[in-house]
């Protein structure tokens, strides 16, 4: 009998993308949004997150390990597809291609972003308003962050749509259509939150 590890991995991949990685994304975007209220309020919010109890345990089990699995298995999924949107020009097929494309963009962005902030912090840098202000004062980095953040949010919102299908929550065409609208709404709302935060660092 063939194994069913693949079934487990695919479902785990789908689940981890939403819980905890997706939830972490929302929380992260909300904390960033404090930047729109000024440097002090951002620093306070960031400091609060940093001083949560069991910080390393939370970081490892809520962020790094799930993210690592989602990323590595995601690369495998992305490269086993043979994209054919030019021949089959349908909305969902384009979403399929974009989901894989934004997955890769998001991965590049997140790796760089973690390197520049969290790893730098481990080597003694302080993650605060000034740090982000410095990074984003470079126009190239500003665009890199805008593209990275929007791509991450797209990947999350569209991933939420597939999550609902993959777990059998939305079955009928109508429920899938409604969840398309809902996830487009989530994409727009979170993009506004994310982009506003980015521009709050640009003086």
């Amino acid at each position: 009998m063939a194994g069913n590890r693949e079934y487990f991995y695919r479902r785990l991949h789908s689940l981890l993308g939403v819980i905890p990685v997706g939830l972490f994304l929302i929380q992260h975007l909300v904390v960033n949004h404090f930047a729109t209220k000024g440097a002090d309020s951002f620093n306070k919010a960031a400091h609060f997150m940093e001083s949560l109890p069991f910080r390393y345990v939370l970081e490892i089990f809520v962020i790094f390990l799930p993210l690592l699995f989602h990323a590595i298995y995601g690369i495998y999924i992305a490269f086993t597809a043979k994209n054919n949107a030019s021949r089959y020009n349908f909305f969902r097929n384009w979403m399929f291609v974009l989901q894989r494309f934004t997955g890769i963009v998001t991965l590049i962005f997140v790796v760089w972003h973690v390197w520049e902030t969290r790893i730098a912090a481990a080597f003694g840098a302080e993650v605060n308003f000034n740090m982000m202000e410095n990074i984003l004062s470079n126009p190239f980095m500003l665009w890199f962050y805008i593209i990275g953040v929007v791509s991450t949010i797209f990947h999350f919102a569209n991933g939420l749509w597939s999550f609902a299908v993959s777990w059998g929550i939305t079955v009928t065409p109508r429920s899938q259509l409604i969840s398309t609208y809902v996830t487009i709404g989530i994409f727009i709302a979170l993009s506004i939150v994310g982009i506003r935060a980015i521009f709050a660092f640009v003086s």
Binding site: M1, A2, G3, N4, R5, E6, Y7, R10, R11, I77, F79, T80, A81, K82, N83, N84, R87, Y88, F90, R92, N93, M95, F96, Q99, W161, S162, V165, S166, W167, G168, I169, T170, V171, T172, P173, Q176
Partner: protein, 253 residues
């Protein structure tokens, strides 16, 4: 009309399963109401290509000639469909024919769809009624449900949905939409339901249901209008429950 007196075909050919594909062009005399198969038959009668050279007749597969067997599927002007129901008058010229390369090409336009029949065996896409004693008549099926199931039963294993699926390719072992939808059909049958768990477990194996990436090309391409993505989502729900039962055990069989 003068320009309609011949029909221009560009056909992708291949002499053996492993040889390189090449293209050959043909001008076939026009007849009213002709379809792609009748044009291929005309080439078979008179195998002369556009350059006026004698060539070998084209190999293709066919059977029912009324779009119910699925054997004659090929890619016609970029779309996988049945060549028996592809009416020349409705196609843009030149008409380009290619084999469905998702499947192993036997020769020219003929492909080997065995993998689909193997998949149907794998998921036990039938109702087991043989016993060592008379099993008697099965339970009745409500008429509305019968009508609903009839739509799913229209699948002719043509392979168009596998051809359209980006996740069915040489890098993956995804079973594809058609056999999955058949699991839903046979699990919905009052007698077939008795083997529901067995079928669900079969599609939870490697290469099974979870390989679906929701591009939904299948449902857009199926010539029989089978609600493939609804079937897949419904099976996602069923396998979710089944996997919990498998893991935790269940209070009922």
């Amino acid at each position: 009309m003068a320009e309609n007196s011949t029909v221009h075909f560009i056909i992708s050919r291949q002499d053996s399963p492993d040889s390189e594909p090449y293209q050959e062009e043909f001008h076939v005399p026009y007849r009213p109401n002709m379809n792609v198969i009748s044009a291929l038959m005309e080439i078979r009668r008179n195998p002369v290509n556009a350059e006026g050279k004698e060539t070998s007749p084209i190999t293709w597969d066919m059977n029912c000639l009324e779009e119910v067997c699925g054997a004659c599927s090929m890619i016609i002007n970029g779309k996988p469909r049945q060549s028996c129901s592809a009416i020349v008058d409705q196609l843009e010229q030149p008409i380009r024919l290619e084999p469905m390369r998702t499947f192993p090409v036997v020769r020219d336009l003929q492909v080997d769809r065995s993998r689909m029949f193997d998949s149907l065996k794998k998921v036990k896409a039938w109702i087991p009624i043989d016993g060592t004693y008379d099993l008697g008549p099965g339970p009745r099926m409500p008429e509305v449900k019968r009508q609903w199931a009839y739509e799913l039963s229209k699948c002719m294993t043509c392979g168009v949905c596998l051809e359209a699926c980006p996740n069915v390719n040489s890098k993956s072992n995804f079973i594809g939409p058609a056999p999955l939808s058949q699991v839903r059909l046979f699990n919905a049958h009052p007698t077939g339901e008795m083997n529901k768990a067995e079928r669900l477990n079969a599609i939870m194996e490697d290469g099974g249901l979870t390989n679906c990436g929701n591009s939904q090309n299948c449902v857009q391409s199926c010539p029989k209008g089978i609600p493939l993505t609804t079937s897949i989502a419904a099976l996602n729900r069923d396998t979710t429950l089944q996997s919990f039962k498998n893991f935790f055990g269940s209070d009922q069989v």
